[in-house]
């Protein structure tokens, strides 16, 4: 395609034609030479499709045969189209013209017949793509004047000087994508356009990253606090003193019995009305911790109580105190046993950070909602989903492996060797084990293994 691209343009009836004419007249300058009254170009940052408008009055002594807009290198004029209005005084006159896009990128408009002297020209060049790199560019205008004695000469017009800011990289990429034919055909599929629009993906990803970090830091702060709180409440619930148990029960039941959404509003709005004012981020951490503590307390309590009494008795018979037995015997076993459920709880809590969008915490969901509202496209939700999944999928996977390992180690003392070997193969390296497991068939009838009534299925872990 080394040749010129030639496109004929039909004069289109502009909807706002009348308005346009009024506008032109109001700015028309006294005409000595081809007097340019106005050249404008939209957009302030590069890489965008824009409209270039040119408004001028032809010289008194000559008609105009051709006008060239000499877009410099960097401008993409390949897909431009031109709207042209020609006026003789107030009267709109017919113009026959052809638009050529030169190899240099210049847009050349030839008139046949030539535009009469003194007529007013209004030219709009649509879909000019401005250079992505910022900077100052000159767009000179040249025209071929046809004098009354039929001479032609090339005359110059001052043209236009424009300055662009370089857009952020992702914007630039987005704008570049905008013009890729592959992207266009992708976007022509409605579903893909709405949920997977490449232009939005490249912009939303870095933008939502901040929200993702916020969500992560919320949960990474709240979860350790919840572990401590959960342990505290779990031990309160197992306390000897009844009122202590009641307090723990009430706490657990109230928190688990009400929606987190409600708890968020209580903390964010309720606390404020009674005069407690925390920074939003701290309030968010607090409400997540309050909530998760209750769930973890139940997980811990169930875990601790699932450890067989014999463990505690063995520790006691060796002279260990209650807390020594807890610390060195019961808790380590409980941790291993509740790890899968705890991980599920972490996943739930991480997803629940989304609810904080309702009170204006700028976390992942909030970022994506804003983006969607601004751009009328749902791609940002897809991006948010990916950000959530980056965390949750590996953890879901981990839960599965922890469960399998747990089943293996707990089955170890009582399950038939067959099952153990099978799992061992599936898992590759399961629980850490020195060489030389006992020969099959040596398993005791009653193992020291813990009871099996503890529910370590993550699937059964209630959601909220």
């Amino acid at each position: 395609m080394g040749d010129r691209i030639v496109r004929s343009m039909r004069l289109r009836r502009a909807a706002a034609g009348a308005l346009l004419i009024v506008l032109m007249l109001s700015v028309a300058a006294p005409a000595l030479a081809m007097s340019t009254s106005r050249i404008t170009i939209d957009q302030k940052t590069g890489g965008l499709q824009t409209r270039f408008t040119y408004q001028a009055t032809a010289d008194e002594d000559a008609g105009v045969d051709r006008i060239d807009f000499l877009f410099p290198e960097g401008f993409d004029t390949e897909d431009v189209y031109v709207e042209l209005t020609l006026l003789d005084g107030l009267k709109r006159i017919k113009a026959d013209y052809e638009v050529e896009i030169l190899e240099s990128g210049a847009v050349s408009i030839s008139f046949d017949p030539a535009v009469p002297a003194k007529s007013n020209l209004f030219i709009e060049v649509y879909d000019v793509i401005t250079p992505i790199a910022g900077g100052t560019y000159e767009i000179p205008v040249e025209y071929e004047a046809v004098t009354t004695d039929d001479d032609t000469e090339t005359r110059k017009d001052p043209g236009l000087t424009v300055t662009y800011a370089t857009p952020p990289r992702q914007e630039a990429l987005s704008r570049w994508l905008e013009n890729q034919s592959l992207v266009r055909s992708w976007n022509s599929v409605k579903f893909l356009n709405i949920f997977f629009k490449p232009q939005h993906i490249v912009v939303a990803f870095p933008l939502l990253f901040k929200g993702w970090l916020k969500s992560l830091s919320l949960v990474l702060l709240a979860f350790p606090i919840s572990i401590i709180g959960g342990l505290l409440i779990a031990f309160m619930k197992m306390a000897k003193i009844a009122p202590v148990r009641w307090i723990a029960s009430v706490y657990i039941n109230v928190i688990r019995g009400t929606p987190l959404f409600l708890q968020i509003f209580v903390v964010f709005i309720g606390f404020r009305t009674i005069g407690i004012r925390l920074p939003d981020f701290l309030s968010a951490v607090a409400v997540l911790s309050f909530n998760s503590s209750a769930y973890l307390a139940e997980i811990f309590r169930a875990g601790i109580q699932s450890i067989s009494r014999g463990q505690f008795e063995a520790a006691s018979s060796l002279g260990m105190t209650y807390w020594q037995a807890m610390q060195h015997v019961i808790i380590p076993q409980t941790v291993r046993r509740v790890l899968p459920t705890m991980t599920s709880e972490f996943i739930l809590l991480f997803k629940d950070t989304a609810l904080l969008a309702a009170v204006g915490i700028f976390e992942l969901m909030m970022y994506s909602q804003n983006y969607v509202a601004r751009n009328a496209n749902l791609t940002a939700f897809t991006v948010a989903a990916i950000y959530y999944l980056i965390i949750t999928i590996p953890l879901i996977n981990l839960v599965g492996r922890l469960e399998a390992r747990l089943a293996q180690s707990e089955g170890g003392s009582s399950a038939p060797p067959k099952g153990r070997h099978k799992r061992g193969v599936l898992l590759g390296s399961g629980a850490a084990a020195p060489e030389g497991a006992p020969a099959p068939g040596l398993g005791p009838a009653v193992g020291s293994g813990p009871q099996v009534d503890f529910d370590h299925s993550a699937a059964k872990h209630e959601s909220r």
Binding site: S308, G310, Q311, E313, A314, A315, S316, S317, L318, G319, M320, T321, Q324, H328, V329, P332, Q333, R336, S409, G412, S413, A433, P434, G436, A437, P438, L442, G443, P444, A445, V446, G447, S448, G449, P450
Partner: protein, 244 residues
């Protein structure tokens, strides 16, 4: 009497309205091996568990050396340190290796330093024939091996008395021997032992005294030969007839 290490006086224990021990008296001399026999539910385990107060007696007195076990003023953990107990279900700590099991209470209760606790652990595990299993986890050991680890764990605390509650009942028959051999060695070494068991051979060979319990009281006691070969009471005869 002067050298009695455990003295039990009119011991009563009830679970709610269920009276399990109805007045048990027993003195155990230093170095004695007392075998306790009796039908299921007669209160043998409960008696043993009262000695180190895993069960709280509801009446009577238990003395260990010069402290009353069931007195609120007694620091029970100090008493338990000196009373080793081995359970039917082993109750090894599954998250620790054999050595870890034997070391834990030495470190936390006796405050032995790590090197000493480790040395003693290996020593005791060697004593029960598990020198080559010190780094195994309980799940990797046979029941008999696990039970021997449990014995080593109790011995590492330098107990003055050992309580054994049907320690071979959960084992496959071929594994019982190893555990009984360890107990025999222990008896030979002069350990004071209270042993609840159905192993008659062991009782005959090792016990210095046999005690027959039924219905929460001691029905009959004496040397193993007396009790096994010439039982005085119908219930004893009945019981012995059933198990042999």
């Amino acid at each position: 009497m002067a050298d009695a290490i455990v003295r039990i006086k009119d011991l009563h224990k009830a679970f709610g309205s269920l009276e399990v021990l109805k007045g048990v008296d027993m003195d155990v001399q230093r170095g004695e091996v007392v075998v306790i026999l009796g039908p299921s539910g007669s209160g043998k385990s409960t008696l043993l568990r009262c000695v180190n107060r895993l069960e709280e007696p509801t009446g009577g007195e238990i003395w260990f050396e010069d402290v009353q076990v069931n007195s609120p003023k007694t620091n029970i953990n100090e008493v338990r340190e000196r009373i080793g107990m081995v359970f039917q279900s082993f109750n090894l700590f599954p998250h620790l290796t054999a050595k870890g099991n034997v070391m834990l209470a030495q470190r936390k209760v006796m405050k032995r330093d790590k090197a000493e606790a480790e040395r003693i652990a290996v020593e005791q595990l060697t004593r029960v024939g598990l020198a080559d299993r010190v780094d195994y986890f309980p799940a990797q050991l046979s029941g008999g091996q696990q039970q021997r680890v449990a014995i080593a764990r109790a011995l590492a605390m330098d107990p003055h008395v050992m309580l054994f509650d049907e320690v071979t009942s959960a084992l496959d028959p071929e594994l019982v021997r190893g555990v009984l051999d360890v107990m025999k060695e222990l008896a030979k070494a002069g350990m004071t032992m209270l042993v609840v068991t159905h192993e008659m051979g062991f009782a005959r060979d090792v016990a210095t005294r046999a005690v027959f319990m039924d219905g929460g009281v001691i029905v009959e006691e004496g040397s193993p030969a007396e009790v096994f070969d010439h039982p005085q009471h119908e219930r004893t005869k009945d019981f012995l007839g059933h198990i042999s």
